[in-house]
Symmetry: D2
Subunit: 420 residues, 4 copies
């Protein structure tokens, strides 16, 4: 195999500076698509590989326009964007080398609405590659994932790379809400896949260590909840109000106080609460964004029932109405043993000898929808972790990871592709 000229860290940092949230990854996707073409891949994007019928909570037309405009200013290619209307920002690069199995690798591209730390102890700040889009941040390492995908593309497209069959690189939008994988599955892009692999950096796994399988994927639901009350003058006739803000506050406490489950690990979070418009008016409207997660489908079902009661009861307490809209779901999935074994061989082949069989992902990833589809159709699927020391937990404003992990991940995935 030839040398590796691609500057992984530079690419990661370039992506880090331009974080784009779910279904608005216009600059990122354009960069990816352009590079894949350059490397000789057949590239499909947007509606060619996404079926959006059942996607919940797409960004508004205004938000799409604004994101495209911002991407344009950041140098995104107009032609690629034109092929990704309405938030359909998935990119797929495909290359064939004769007959042989189809290998699909998944990389996610979206960022989070997190305010990045400006502390000099935060490397992106110190080294001047912080987010240029205030209020958004690559706080989960998807900048790294995308850079890894492009590096893998470069290495595997090199004539000397030792693989045959079909290589399919999927750059997915909207992993963080759990909404980006399903439209790609619906479009059939996973139906003929023989082997599927996704990889995540970090997750508390130390630098240099490989986990052959991530486990502990949660089943989850993501809800948007609206409480509708009645406004009133807070001093003259507060008794005429129906306080949506207090309904939401009570509900937020109630959701966090939902009982732990003796049979399965669970998580709950009300991540956003927005209520009221003026200090001297009883708030007539409140919105919650929350998520419920559980290690089993049964426990999620219990949690969903209990959370629904909490929301309805909190509304009733204030004489308010409540609407609950499910904005996304995620499922659990299990890696196939065959993929784990191939990964172990791949790791040892490139000198990654610090290997653990499994490690909890501690959250979710909608790559599980892809894994399940591959498995349903008779293929094998896996999800591995590449260790990377972190400066702070995932999703924190001072999150950062050991950039050496980028090259480890590229070596691992490339080697995986080259294993018989």
């Amino acid at each position: 195999m030839t040398a590796f000229p691609y500057d992984l860290k530079a690419m990661r940092r370039s992506l880090h500076r331009f974080p784009e949230p779910a279904f608005l990854e216009y600059r990122t996707a354009s960069v990816v698509a352009a590079r894949l073409v350059e490397l000789g891949f057949d590239v499909r994007v947007g509606p060619e590989i996404m079926a959006m019928e059942n996607v919940q909570a797409l960004p508004s037309a205004e938000a799409v326009l604004a994101a495209q405009e911002a991407a344009r200013l950041a140098g995104a290619d107009e032609n690629w964007m034109a092929r990704m209307p309405g938030g359909q920002t998935a990119v797929c690069g495909e290359m064939r080398r004769g007959d042989g199995p189809v290998l699909a690798l998944r990389f996610d591209m979206d960022a989070l609405p997190v305010l990045e730390s400006e502390s000099e102890s935060h490397l992106p700040a110190a080294e001047r590659f912080s987010s240029e889009r205030t209020g958004f941040m690559h706080a989960c390492g998807h900048d790294g994932h995308t850079a890894i995908g492009l590096a893998v593309a470069q290495k595997l497209s090199h004539p000397t790379a030792a693989w045959t069959g079909t290589l399919r690189l999927i750059f997915q939008p909207a992993e963080e809400g759990g909404r980006g994988a399903q439209p790609i599955v619906s479009a059939g892009l996973l139906d003929d896949v023989d082997t599927f692999l996704a990889l995540h950096l970090g997750c508390q796994l130390p630098s240099g260590r490989v986990a052959l399988m991530a486990d502990g994927f949660f089943w989850s639901e993501k809800w948007s909840v609206r409480f509708s009350g009645r406004a009133a003058h807070a001093a003259m006739m507060p008794e005429e109000g129906r306080n949506a803000l207090l309904a939401a506050a009570t509900a937020a406490l109630g959701v966090h106080a939902l009982p732990r489950d003796g049979q399965a690990d669970t998580r709950v979070n009300v991540g956003v609460l927005s209520a009221g418009r003026a200090r001297n008016v009883i708030a007539d409207e409140a919105l919650l964004e929350l998520e419920l997660r559980a290690a089993t489908q049964d426990a999620l079902s219990r949690l969903v029932d209990a959370a629904r009661r909490v929301l309805q009861g909190a509304a009733l307490m204030q004489g308010a109405e409540v609407e609950i809209a499910c904005q996304g779901k995620s499922v659990s999935a299990t890696s196939d043993v065959a993929v784990c074994e191939r990964l172990e061989r791949a790791a040892r082949a490139v000198g990654l000898e610090d290997i653990v069989p499994n490690w909890p992902i501690g959250g979710g990833d909608d790559a599980t929808f892809m894994m399940r589809r591959v498995q349903e159709k008779g293929g094998k699927a896996g999800y591995c972790l590449m260790g990377a020391d972190l400066t702070a937990p995932h999703h924190a404003g001072n999150f950062d990871f050991d950039e050496d992990a980028l090259e480890h991940a590229v070596r691992l995935m490339t080697s995986f592709a080259e294993q018989a």
Copy 2:
């Protein structure tokens, strides 16, 4: 006295369509200033009559620019706006007729961040004069107050109007929030006033009835509160978070649960709660906008102490930090008997015979700062109410008032000016 050509209802409706919140009343103030000049008043605006040193929570430069731009599109005069920089939107029209006492009348111009009802049962919707600025609304009748002020200006500027001395009409911004009166007081505009009168429509007083004195003005403080916690991935390491959203929710409940006071009527309201940025991140920041009111200064002081404890305790519960910023205060004031008596004569002189000596305002009005200054300097001050049947409580999205009250108020105030 001459006929009354001014179309009060049309003016009120025109103002209703363009609601502007505190310190951003550019279109309204421009219209007022232009009209006063037309009627022959000496007009002073902005810094000429406002001393802004101690004003809290002024709108940002961006907000001012945006408001000016919107006002411009709605026909506001560029020259007037240029004389009202940085949210200094007060307007004063003055007219002298020989020696004699100075009479000051106060009218407030600002609107509220309330979403106006679109129901056909809401007159502004049915008659097509609803707010054209979504999310803002004249939900407290200041559109009526401003229209009344302009009608009073017209009538009293007529050569046949029976008054002497100095007439000073003060059109005040930012009554809601209690921040607009103080800079006008600080600028000295009340220092030489012999008689001061303000009027409010509605307040549950039935149409046609006059209350010679509003009482029950609350002492109040308006706070903005920021909770700062620590973000964390809600599934991987929720235990690393410091949940600012839960701190704010707990605080909101705690503030509303503050004890009633056995010695004085009180009010509390958390009108706005805004927390968190993403569903799967522990919220690291939350903002509350709240107000505390009490019928006596002592009771307000008790409420302030107790609310401070609630906020600090709620922060401590989550290991979060809290900052409390007082954004405005209001004081109580009492009308002078002499003003009430003059009002009674004025009312009877124009056939308003349905008179009550006093009526609770049920809220506050920072005209009290003006009243106190006038009284401190030896003048007499009053605050009266003009009955107006309401469709909904003040500050509700379907608030509206009986427009016949407009003419009653104009007759009353004009007659008041003409009483010896």
Copy 3:
């Protein structure tokens, strides 16, 4: 008039040492009955003057037995107690002096479940007349009221006392929960009364001052609320529980956070919350004792509706059931002008010149049921306050009052009886 040998303070202190809660005033009532007989009154007790059909939440048979046993040990007369079965502890002393109007005076006898302060700064502790029944206390001054009643009885029973007609002294149980007056009214004891007077000590009125009329009586309801959930092992299967404790906690916060009323003063209090049986079991039952008060019947009705929603919503949040039982109600009443005028003459006749026309009682008193009955039947009723400096608010564990007020009150009421 003769000298006044009765030792008021000693009697008050004796009563203070033996506080008895609602409907369990066996020792107190026995002492009262015996003394009235001694003074020549016709004495009726228990079922002779109480109709208990509609009384809510009477003490249990066990509680009555225990109270009687404790009273017996404290020297209560067995014969009197035998005439007061089932908590019927009212006592009425009557004396006739020829024809003439019927004058009824009311005194209340019950104590509170409050733990008395042991501080040396608390007079009963320092002077060794503290409660001997741990957990109960005369924390509202009814020990004083009863002592005053007995002193008034002594003075008016003296041959030289200047009154004619019928004098009826009513010693009432269970004022604190608002349940003792109604059965006496139901029994008809107020039906022929021409003039009725009740008196309360303290209420923030300074020592020596007389308020001719207490106002601000609240309308109220007193509720007992039971939440029923489902127990479960708190570690093994917490998800199987239905947490009644959390329902009650949420409800308590929700009740205290009920909006103030712009039209009437209100009060809310959850005074007792008792939930759960073991630390490692999800609580399956919780009880709340709460009260709702409002200055008007309308506002109480609003409060009742809103509180009901709060309780039902809090139950729903936890999947629990809720039962609400109203345990007592109180009503407002207004003193007749004629009674106030007679009181003023009475006060001045005995040198009590520090007089105010009215003063807020700041709470309630079910003497209002008696007042209303008297007024319905054509009589006149009044409720006055005798000032007494306090060491702490009513119902606090270190509550105490200036004992000089006792004699003031005796003089006032005696003089009232002697006014034509």
Copy 4:
């Protein structure tokens, strides 16, 4: 081996009828001690085998007297009770058969403050062996454990039983609050033990199945929390109160809303909340009984820190004081492989072939203190589960278990003792 005349179910039902809570197991312990003597064991009780120096929250002298009196009425032997002063109700039966290792078996005897179901679908109700002590119940199967212990004692004391060395049967009080094992450990009763075994019925393991090792023991702390506020008249001067009830309610919600831990399973429960004394008094005192559990010592430490903040913050919110007293702790422990292997042989030897290597206990058991001491001193320790279908979760009022499991457990433990 001889026949088995002992009536296991009858003994279990007899014990079920007389449930006694922690450190008050006087009737149970007396029955056990008498039976062990009858079978030829050397019996030590109370202070002979308990060192109480560091025991927290012992029952009061009054509670001990009351429990002894109740036990006496239920037939407990006066002499045994005399040897168990102050709640020291542990019983140890020992038998030697020549030299050889010391085998200790642990059985727990205490019941819970749970109200037993009266439903006919609840077997103890239908078959008339329900709790005769209202408000207490064997809702965790310790009645079964004690009956098993006595049956094991009978079988192993038979001359034909195939074991040598020393057999020590430990009947432990107060397992439920995690306070009974430590004083026995402190007294040295485990110091010379070569092999230790404890067994629990149920825990969601199906009837007939053996789990060689219970895992998932939680680290835990049990707290009693007292909030001290200030009483005040709820209507006259509520603002003077410091509401301990609201502090406790807020704290209860806050504790239940503590974040899940991404690194370890946790549990929280506020099982008891008791606050306030009268409906019309601001509550000046509130008590919480709560427990915190975590799968690791680190996670427990995080939970303890966070809960402390919650309690302090909730107190601060109300201007109240808070005292936190730790009433008990439990630790995790792991069974030794040697014990599991011996158990497997023992199970198969008596036809119990449905075996799983491990099963989550789902809670805690302070037998872990004994296990740790044995292991520290060089011995081997184990904790196994005997499957028993349940009618309801542990600690529920309708908890019951398949009584066939009793004999399975006796066979298993006897066989364990007889394995070389």
